[in-house]
């Protein structure tokens, strides 16, 4: 009985995503008809030749890359400080890192937007990055903190005792130890940014990231077959970092994501 419920629950979690893969090949282009009247590969080619899709994709990749780099730097610094030493305000720092993701995205979004308005900052690529990097810090931080805890502090002391300076110690001792955790955290941050829509609707001006492009299609469907294909591609793209992050942190670590 419990087994049946668990199986049904898992099906409930997976069937809707599988459905996307079927719809990407349907010949029907006006409605969401089920069962599909026929199957075709035509829409893959049509989507491939769409300039707007490519542009949105390019913007998303650019935003996600820059945000991930910033999040990697900030997240690692925070994790190093919090895990190495106990200091006053340590709890406050971890709360500060988690807050952007713990509060509903709409609050982060509208807060940033009103701040941009107050400071007369025009919307641009960088306003999107500002928002994304802020909530991406937490995934890098989570992964790095978990790894720092498992890394023995005496390794660093030994390195310094043997005459290495800070840069050498970081390069040869710290970095090799935390590299896979950072890679995993970075990939999850990339996936998080690549998919983000709620904060982005507030911090993007006229530019459309891929999720913004999809949101417009969701609200006013105009090109259902192209949207179907884009949805399938997005699923495939986000699976890659998840699987990779899983293999990189199998001994522990933290791939648990925060909210939206």
């Amino acid at each position: 009985m419990l087994k049946l419920a668990a199986g049904a629950g898992l099906l409930f979690m997976h069937l809707p995503i599988l459905l996307i893969f079927v719809y990407a090949f349907t010949t029907e282009d006006k409605t969401y008809q089920w069962p599909p009247p026929g199957f075709t590969l035509k829409w893959l080619a049509v989507t491939w030749n769409r300039a707007d899709v490519w542009e949105a994709m390019r913007l998303s990749v650019k935003v996600a890359s820059v945000s991930t780099v910033i999040a990697l730097v900030l997240g690692t610094l925070c994790a190093a400080a919090v895990s190495r030493t106990r200091f006053f305000g340590r709890e406050a720092i971890s709360l500060l890192v988690i807050l952007p993701i713990a509060l509903p995205g709409i609050i982060t979004g509208i807060a940033l937007r009103s701040a941009f308005n107050l400071a007369d900052i025009p919307f641009s690529f960088w306003t999107i990055v500002l928002g994304h990097a802020t909530f991406c810090v937490v995934v890098v931080y989570n992964n790095a903190v978990a790894r720092f805890r498992r890394t023995s502090g005496s390794l660093i002391e030994a390195s310094m005792d043997l005459g290495a300076n800070g840069v050498q110690t970081f390069r040869y001792i710290v970095l090799p130890n935390i590299a896979t955790a950072l890679l995993a955290g970075g990939m999850l941050a990339f996936a998080l940014s690549f998919d983000e829509v709620i904060v982005t609707t507030f911090t993007a001006g006229q530019q459309a990231t891929l999720p913004i492009w999809m949101l417009e299609e969701l609200v006013r469907p105009r090109q259902r077959p192209v949207t179907n294909v884009v949805a399938m591609v997005v699923v495939l793209i986000t699976f890659v970092p998840i699987l990779a992050a899983y293999y990189l942190t199998r001994g522990g670590g933290n791939t648990r994501p925060p909210g939206n």
Partner: protein
């Protein structure tokens, strides 16, 4: 001790130069080192994030002039009083009710999955459950909502299923229920509820699984040995011990439902949720003070919720 040893070694190995000197200086002053580590992240999060939140909070104490539509930049409680008018209370009540329903339902649906993922977590099964929960969790939010638009469409798979099984009557009965029903699933609260449940379910499964994993197997065996039937074991042993995990999961499902404005906009009736109201007030209406005051509502609700959850020990299960 380490610093004196270090200087000994330093002279032995002969490491000199400004970098080495700097490294030594930092090593001797851990406080300064931590400060340097934190300067950048704290400046970023403090200015970009806390600064923005603060700006938002301040604006909720401004008000909008009804005649000119301009924002009056002086302190007032007027905007907060506006929250208490029936329209806004209605919106807040509806959102909290939906969040509660979604949280309870996801706890029920998540439990069997979390139970098996925790109990049969070895070797191949462990990887299976891990990926079975992680992949839907990390899949694109919009794609998931889009999938439900396909499922709930009039010509979509769910209607087709009901028709093929000759259960149209059942579907019509469901939709005829006042308030939660509607013309079709995609414009009813039932639809909104299903999508919320689907999208946030993995956030409930994970902490629940972690909590159940920590319940020693022999407690359950002891309960059975002492004559407890499966229901009693569940009710008096497993459930109380897994409760922190359930509360931890409910933080996510509750908070995420409170703040979402995209799902009810795409699947649901025209009646607003908090997120939608915030979005429309800050956008076309230009009433930033009211939008800001409305965002304070979920923050306060979540603060109370987190305080209760902390007292129940839910943070250890996160």
């Amino acid at each position: 001790m380490s610093s004196s040893l270090q200087s000994l070694n330093r002279s032995a190995t002969g490491a000199t130069g400004p970098l080495a000197a700097l490294s030594d200086a930092l090593w001797r002053r851990p406080g300064l080192f931590v400060f340097l580590l934190l300067v950048l992240p704290v400046l970023w999060l403090g200015i970009v994030y806390l600064g923005s939140l603060f700006a938002l909070l301040i604006q909720s104490f401004f008000s909008i002039d009804e005649f000119s539509g301009m924002i009056r930049h002086e302190f007032t409680w007027k905007t907060y009083r506006e929250l208490l008018n029936p329209i806004n209370l209605d919106i807040i009540g509806r959102t909290v009710l939906m969040a509660t329903a979604v949280t309870i339902a996801s706890a029920i649906v998540a439990f069997p999955i979390a139970y098996y993922a925790a109990r049969y977590a070895q070797g191949r099964w462990k990887a299976f459950f891990y990926l079975a929960i992680m992949l839907p969790l990390w899949s694109s939010y919009l794609v998931k909502v889009y999938a439900w638009k396909l499922i709930l469409a009039k010509e979509g798979i769910l209607n087709w299923l009901f028709t093929s099984l000759h259960l149209n009557g059942l579907l019509e009965m469901l939709l005829a229920i006042p308030v939660i029903g509607g013309n079709s699933l995609s414009v009813s609260y039932i639809g909104t509820f299903l999508v919320f449940l689907y999208v946030w379910l993995p956030f409930m499964v994970l902490p629940m699984q972690a909590a159940i994993e920590r319940v020693p197997q022999n407690y359950l065996e002891a309960s059975a040995d002492l004559g407890g039937n499966p229901w009693q074991t569940f009710r008096h042993v497993l459930l109380p011990l897994a409760l922190p995990g359930i509360i931890a999961g409910s933080i996510f499902t509750f908070s995420l439902t409170l703040g979402d404005y995209i799902i009810p906009q795409i699947i649901g009736s025209s009646r607003l949720f908090i997120g939608q109201a915030v979005y429309s007030h800050q956008g076309t209406a230009g009433n930033i003070p009211l939008a800001a005051a409305l965002t304070v509502v979920p923050v306060v609700i979540m603060a109370v919720y987190l305080w209760v959850a902390k007292r129940k020990g839910a943070f250890d299960a996160l």
